[in-house]
């Protein structure tokens, strides 16, 4: 964890994640980065009009947190692109689970919707589920919280 970030000291990792990911636009920027967007202009274009002044501050915040890093496009270039760090890549399950829930519950049956498919097979990816260490599907009532 970058030491210059001061998260609110909740002992709940969900609260800490939400402190960091904060508002809707932050997660939509991460959605874009996960789909391969690297240029600042492209992040701006991908957000609704109202939010187009927002990406600059949000991207800087994600760099500060350690989710995105900026790297020169080439060794001699002044231009930088924004790419996800490992920490950023690991948000893929969060974003995918949100996508699937939205598709399942927030679209009318007749509405066309975006579907994430496996490039190899063109089949939709599986529903995100929670699994035990031995691979069984786990429901909330099968779990408990312990301090470790």
């Amino acid at each position: 964890m970058p030491t210059h970030i001061r998260h609110r000291r909740s002992d709940c990792p969900i609260a800490r994640s939400l402190d960091v990911l904060g508002d809707k636009w932050t997660l939509l920027i991460i959605r874009e980065a996960l789909s391969g967007t690297t240029r600042f202009m492209d992040f701006s274009r991908a957000l609704p009009k109202l939010a187009r002044t927002i990406p600059s501050a949000r991207l800087q915040r994600l760099v500060d947190i350690g989710v995105i890093e900026t790297i020169p496009v080439s060794p001699t270039s002044l231009y930088h692109e924004c790419v996800l760090t490992e920490m950023g890549h690991q948000l893929f399950p969060v974003v995918t689970a949100l996508r699937q829930w939205g598709n399942d519950y927030l679209f009318e049956p007749s509405e066309p919707r975006q579907c994430l498919v496996d490039r190899r097979t063109e089949t939709p990816i599986a529903s995100t589920q929670v699994h035990s260490a031995d691979g069984q599907v786990v429901l909330p009532e099968d779990t408990e919280l312990v301090m470790r």
Copy 2:
């Protein structure tokens, strides 16, 4: 989808989910409901002091959306409890993925942390991952978005 809810008409299911789940407190209320909280007072107690006036409006919003329903404690009781609907239960992967990401990246190594374990075995549940229909782990670059 309850027809009285007007989501912003984004064609992105992530944006729609974030419209509905909105702010941090909403997801923390869902966290509580997933861990078995049903009484209004217990939702209030589980949130940080500053947020204790918030649950009433948030719970009502979650009822309107269809994530939580209120049911009488007994057939003759005036008291109601708040329980997750199927739509609400299906947020378990979202909340679990946020929990794991927070635990992995937002705690100092020396900090004790909450760990979600399988009740049967007391072992931590597996890291949430994205899988293809045939059970392979899928990374962002293995996927593409199509309209269906």
